[in-house]
Symmetry: C2
DNA sequence: CTTTTTTGCTAAAACGATTTAGGAATCACG
DNA sequence: CGTGATTCCTAAATCGTTTTAGCAAAAAAG
């Protein structure tokens, strides 16, 4: 019952031609190789009839290409990445590629280990959020000349393909929105990081604040355990009693921050202006609903795959694809002028 | 520069033995095959020295095993699945397996298509949340006798491995908890589904309610678009003004439900008892914080991989692994007796 | 000193494709 | 008719492993 799946050989012997011929035909090289129309048709028909699909392992072994795309993010359980993964998945499968997801935990060694594994697998393409110090590994990949796209962040010194968003401008605008709604002492909570996306966000905030002649109040959390981060946030909030708004630079920080606020400064939850980077379904549900800079997930995912497919088709390294997408400010309750309420 | 990665052949010619010998040694069959200790050591040393790793494609082609584990869920962007994915990922990579994630959208055709793709790939093992009508496909896999574990739900009629949680009991207890805190008219919002996990939850609720001689008030949402679901929920809430608590049977429903409540019955948010199945970071952050039945994610993930590795080692189909894990009730503000507040 | 057994290894086929180099017929042309 | 071009196809190598079957030399047994 468990009949082996048909191979090229089966087709060959049935039609009474060589496997070479069959291979040519199935790869569309029939005409080019001057295989007669008659034979071509016979092969194609029979292949369809027995529902032939090539053994990808064999194909990969021979060609050195595996039809596997690696999608490496910081942490696949982060909703932002998970949703992106979903979008990537759909297009990839449609085009006959499989996707391997993995999380590098923003750790360079981990990144390196994973890449090592994949190198052995002749992975066809990489979509990567590089960890902070992964420049070396990315350069190595560049040298290997395998299709690769960075996203979320990139190394300005490297000529890589990338898809990012306008972090600076988005943060600038969101900060201005807060200012426009009457907030004057806006805290900015971010993590200490030299990575492009975080630097740009900080710059955007500072620009808006300076333009408005307001004071910049930044808390740069060292990359620490959640619990410690909460302590530092609390201290920051309490040490700056004049704060009337806070801007969290990533969704992760917002989660922490909201908890801290509810715990220690419950009154401020509805009083302060609150803004976050990276939207999330729960920010809509939260009371008050949280205003957010929303990354255009669909667009990012589609763009990534568009570029990837392009790279896979004709790997012309002449053109580097560098895309910056616009993000959208979702204005919700948390950033509206509170005058009405503050009776 | 781009030196080819070493193959078994390189080792063979360097040591001056046949590839057969090298293969035996590298597969630990040296002693068994009576390769001299001296040669074994030479091979192992050299292999380590040049940092040899086998070409998995070739290995897979030859052995018919691909070292790829498929992890199929409803929707990888659902936080519950994403977090589980993360846990699976860690163990799998540690053991030298790769994981391919995919989403079947709880759609049978989609499940079938995906499985078709994977069958061609000689996937080593499957961890699957089956879509409602995927019994046939699961049976087909069973026949192929490839390692497979279902989770979250299963088909009682099929003798498959599975890992699930005690849906019935957990819901029963959570409902009793609500009752114990003084709630008397508890609505149960679920989706119309004959799948084990949903049926069990409904049963658990009904049991608790009946035992307490309370009335069962169930809203079974047909599987519809979010927007329609919200309309139905709203109607349900308004048509049952005597409600004083609501139990959402999945995290997805809770999201919708909280939005509906905030929109149309804002007063009830702090008044009603609220309980949800599937915990989530945001339920902690929410005001009021939402009580939840938390699935033991770590345990589920670990158990799945434990069984999978077991199956991969000695595929003895004699024993079927069927595991039911306990879930934990996280009591938060939303289910505490509200008497104090209702001045 | 044969014969048998054990030791220590290897040749070659196989997995299922792709691709290079070329061969046999047929045809065209002078 | 001889030569060259064209048409249509194929043999065989290759990718990097695993595995079966077996061989030569040394050791043990008789």
């Amino acid at each position: 019952m468990k009949s082996k799946r048909p191979s090229i050989k089966d087709i060959a012997s049935y039609i009474n031609v060589s496997v070479t011929t069959v291979s040519f035909v199935l790869n569309g090289k029939g005409p080019e190789m001057r295989i007669s129309e008659e034979v071509i048709q016979k092969i194609l028909n029979y292949a369809k009839e027995i529902n032939y699909t090539p053994n990808q392992l064999a194909q990969s072994l021979r060609t050195g290409k595996s039809n596997v795309i690696v999608f490496m993010v910081e942490d696949i359980s982060n909703p932002f990445f998970a949703r992106l993964a979903r979008i990537i998945e759909v297009t990839a499968y449609k085009k006959g590629y499989k996707v391997i997801f993995c999380s590098n935990e923003n750790d360079d060694r981990h990144t390196e280990e994973l890449l090592q594994v994949f190198r052995d697998q002749k992975v066809t393409g990489y979509i990567i959020i590089p960890s902070a110090g992964a420049k070396k590994q990315i350069m190595a990949l560049l040298e290997e000349d395998v299709p690769m796209i960075l996203f979320d962040r990139y190394f300005p010194e490297l000529e890589t393909n990338y898809v990012v968003i306008d972090n600076g401008n988005a943060t600038y605008k969101a900060t201005r929105h807060l200012i426009g709604n009457g907030y004057r002492n806006i805290g900015f909570v971010t993590i200490a990081s030299k990575q492009t996306q975080m630097m740009d966000r900080l710059k955007g905030y500072n620009k808006a604040v300076k333009e408005a002649k307001l004071q910049s109040r930044v808390l740069e959390l060292p990359f620490v355990k959640a619990s410690e981060g909460e302590g530092l946030m609390r201290h920051f909030f309490e040490a700056n009693p004049e704060l009337d708004a806070v801007f969290f630079a990533t969704n992760y920080l917002t989660q922490r921050g909201l908890l801290v606020m509810r715990e220690y400064l419950p009154g401020k939850l509805n009083e302060w202006g609150i803004m976050t980077f990276d939207d999330n379904e729960f920010f809509r549900i939260h009371t008050p609903s949280i205003s957010a800079v929303a990354q255009p997930l669909e667009e990012i995912g589609n763009k990534l795959m568009e570029i990837m497919l392009e790279l896979l088709k004709h790997n012309e390294k002449r053109t580097v694809h560098q895309v910056v997408l616009k993000s959208e400010l979702k204005v919700r309750d948390s950033s509206k002028a509170k005058d009405a309420n503050s009776i």
